[in-house]
Amino acid sequence: MKTVSAPYQFKGGIHPDYHKELAWKSAIERMPNPSELTVPMSQHLGAPAKVCVSPGDAVKKGSLIGEQNGFISASVHAPVSGTVKAVVQSCSATGRSCQAVVIESMDDGETEYFEPIVEWLHTHKERLRNRIGEAGIAGMGGAGFPTRVKLSPPHDKPIDTVILNGAECEPYLTSDYRVMLEHADKICIGAEIIQHILGAKTVRIAIEDNKPDAVRAMEKACAQERQGIEIDILPTGYPQGSEKQQIYNITGREVPRGGLPMDVGCVVENVGTSLAIYEAVVHGQPLIERVITVTGEAVERPANLLVPFGTSYRKLVEHCGGVRESVAKVISGGPMMGFAVGSLEIPTGKTTSGLVLLPSGCIQQFSSQACIGCGRCVDACPMGLVPSELSQFIEADDIEGAERIALMDCIECGSCAFVCPAHRPLVQHMRRGKTGVMARRAAADAQTRK
């Protein structure tokens, strides 16, 4: 085990005010089970799970309530014991509507977990992958890509490096930080399970240099472990937590355009995912809860809560003492890439890393001003794009033109809109353009199939 500074640094990026001090001192506390939970079937990327319970059924904590539906999908389990009250349509943070199971909770302390695999090092990799799959684990950094798929790269793409993403470059959020501080040893074991499954040579744990105590905690936890684990300290900045940028910083390899990390022999997993893998393998616990940071200038008592999925945002805010001042914006996730929500009646899920409540003074106000061509977005873009030009193309509905100048390489990190003095909604333009490109590609596909 050794600790090094990441040898490379990607071009671009920004340095926002982090405001992490709001919540980073508060230790993870377990949120009491609410009386009723609405567990969405789509908490991950891909096809929603298929409901496999019906109203009136009794479920235990950990019982399967939604079956994995297709290859890119993840199963869903009951976060608490209780009775299924109904199957309803519920709204997710992104505004998509999906099926959800409403469970009336009943604290009987009973669980229905998987059989623990303590001797994981001597267990067949396929069995571990299946366990991760049946536990419904999806990337907990924000995108929610099913982890089982990520850990099953094709044979022609050997993985030599596992990167554990503990950068947490999103302002305000502290959940990964607290998890690293309090569960460092479990994360290490989780990382080793990933390493074992992929047969990777090294594990690199990436942490930004504004979290020195997390670095120390991870160092301590890893010290007694085997060789091949390395802690890479990244200079604080955004988007250090972005997969492609992180791989570049640590290994100097650039994920090719349109490619995936596995194309350069890397797999990046969030530290929270690593913890979930540990729990699923060693304790047999499916993914039914996670640490969520409830923070922001508009919340009374910022905290890091261990929350069972399906708890509504309103319950989280109430648990944290309610709102402090007139709240203008509620963000599910971090303020750079999270989703603003229109109401608090939204259930938490596997990708909810935080809930940030901001008063009107702290938020971005987009305007319809024209681009003044200052080029700051060009300097800020970590992908080497020209956001100003892209947005102008998209505004003029020249989607083809935008695609030609690498629209699809945009990672929607928001660095451009963060620095734009004209406060243009650049990311929204990019998304709109991407939707247009996707539609066109789908139409072209349909044409060729005809």
């Binding site: 992104t94 505004g95 998509r96 603003a340 229109g342 109401s343 987009f366 929204q428 709109r432």
Partner: protein
């Protein structure tokens, strides 16, 4: 006339004529021996175009535009100098139908303006319905209703759509039923209806009556009153949403009064 004058007049004639002849013959020979076969329709469409070669259509000259029409099915309405007559002749030549039998008009199947339909949150972003719809499902309380950010109005080639109180309205007199607004609406609530049809159900919400009432005071609640008071078969229920069967002639217009949420309206 003396011979000087004759010479003075004849020589230029002779020379220019000669030059023209040489050039003409060589061009004719060139055209014959170096001909390249192409779709004869291209030449014919080129004939139909005004031949101003103004490039206003975005193509490099009339021949190029004709080629685009024949080969790539380009839009035939791009030629400004040619005008409507040109469009008609090309339409006739290419066999593209110019108009359908029954005159249709686009209609926004929503009457929930800012007074009757509530908005769930304040939207802050680009003026585009699809973009607004992609953010937390759109700010309108009703997930079926018109968002009113005017994407349809912007694509309308004849400026027939206006946004009033957060609701798009089609001006029947101007609408040419081109269908561009229908394609661009993220909520798919603009439909082509017969221009002659007198009344319509201006609601698109398939939700139960109680849910509709929560978000909009002028949405169809599925009460079925119109099926009782209207003409036989003129109103058809699709779940909790009534709609007009335009093949049935309407005689009893008092349903307009009977509809409790007043979403049956004249257009």
């Amino acid at each position: 006339m003396d011979s000087e004058t004759i010479k003075f007049i004849l020589t230029p004639f002779l020379w220019v004529g000669l030059t023209g002849l040489v050039i003409g013959v060589s061009l004719a020979l060139a055209a014959k021996y170096m001909a390249v076969r192409e779709d004869p329709r291209i030449a014919q469409v080129t004939e139909l175009l005004p031949g101003a070669n103004c490039g206003g259509c975005g193509f490099a000259g009339c021949a190029e535009y004709a080629k685009a029409i024949v080969v790539d099915n380009a839009d035939i309405t791009l030629c400004a100098p040619g005008g409507a007559a040109c469009v008609d002749s090309i339409a006739a030549f290419m066999g593209v139908s110019a108009g359908s039998v029954e005159k249709m008009t686009a209609l926004v199947m929503c009457c929930g303006d800012d007074e009757s339909a509530e908005r769930r949150f304040s939207y802050n972003g680009i003026n585009d319905c699809a973009a607004a719809d992609a953010l937390a499902g759109g700010d309108k309380g009703c997930t079926y209703g018109c968002l009113g950010y005017g994407s349809c109005a912007r694509v309308c080639p004849v400026n027939a759509i206006i946004i009033e109180k957060g609701l798009a309205r089609v001006n029947k007199a101007l609408c040419i039923a081109c269908g561009k607004c229908i394609a661009v609406c993220p909520r798919k609530l603009i439909k082509l209806v017969p221009t002659a049809a007198p009344i319509h159900v201006l609601c698109n919400s398939k939700d139960k009556g109680a849910d509709v009432k929560k978000v909009c005071s002028s949405g169809c609640i599925g009460c079925r009153l119109c099926t009782k008071f209207g003409d036989e078969g003129a109103f058809v229920m699709d779940g909790f949403l009534a709609h007009v069967d335009y093949s049935v002639p309407i005689t009893r217009e008092e349903v307009i009064e009977k509809c409790p949420s007043k979403c049956i309206r004249r257009n």
